[in-house]
């Protein structure tokens, strides 16, 4: 089952793409997902980032489903 992960700013540079379909198991938490992402892109481990699920900032306990839109957000720079 596929989940769409969006990368922004410096994280898109590291992944080399703006979004990517990941195949995940049901019942995955944001914390679990972050571990998988850092395994694939170890360079993201040095970066601060937040995770948004369906356009809301989510903590590690939030569950994601294949319907979720997940985004990796580096520090904000608006203003």
């Amino acid at each position: 089952m596929g989940i769409n992960i969006l990368y922004f700013g410096m994280l898109a540079e590291i992944s080399g793409q703006a979004n990517e379909i990941w195949t995940i198991n049901d019942g995955l938490s944001v914390g679990d997902l972050k571990k998988l992402i850092l395994e694939k892109y170890p360079a993201m481990g040095e970066k601060k980032f937040k995770v948004a699920v369906n356009q809301q900032i989510a903590d590690d306990q939030t569950f994601v489903s294949t319907q979720s839109e997940v985004a990796l957000l580096p520090p904000f720079a608006g203003g």
Binding site: L6, F8, G9, M10, A52, Q55, A71, L73, P74, P75, F76, A77, G78, G79
Partner: protein
Amino acid sequence: MEGPISPQFVADSIAKHQSKVNIGAHAIFLGQIRADEKEDGFVTGIEYSAYEEMAEQAFHAIREDAFSKFDLTCMHIYHSLGLVPTGEVSLFVFVSSAHRRAAFEASEYIVDEIKTKVPIFGKELVGPAGAYVWKENN
């Protein structure tokens, strides 16, 4: 909006409010790009990108929140996307109220909220050779 926010755009916004005769005070905030010095030279501009759908939602939430907190007549927020060169304006927050106190307080509050809650990202372009650093609000 794409690219810098022009002084003329600000003027047009002000002019549109002159028919609202219950307004006594406008507070306008403009964020302008500084030529800060970095390791590889001076900043020449910022390239902004955003998680656009979430940014729209965040702006909407800030707007609702500010209207509930402060006694405002009008509120407009504009942020640039794409390249904004040094010396040009990337953020325009325009609040209007019958009395000045609400306008001042809302203006500062809204700018603080934008800096911390809206997923906008900025690449500071540095020097002539294509170097850059990612901007980070604190």
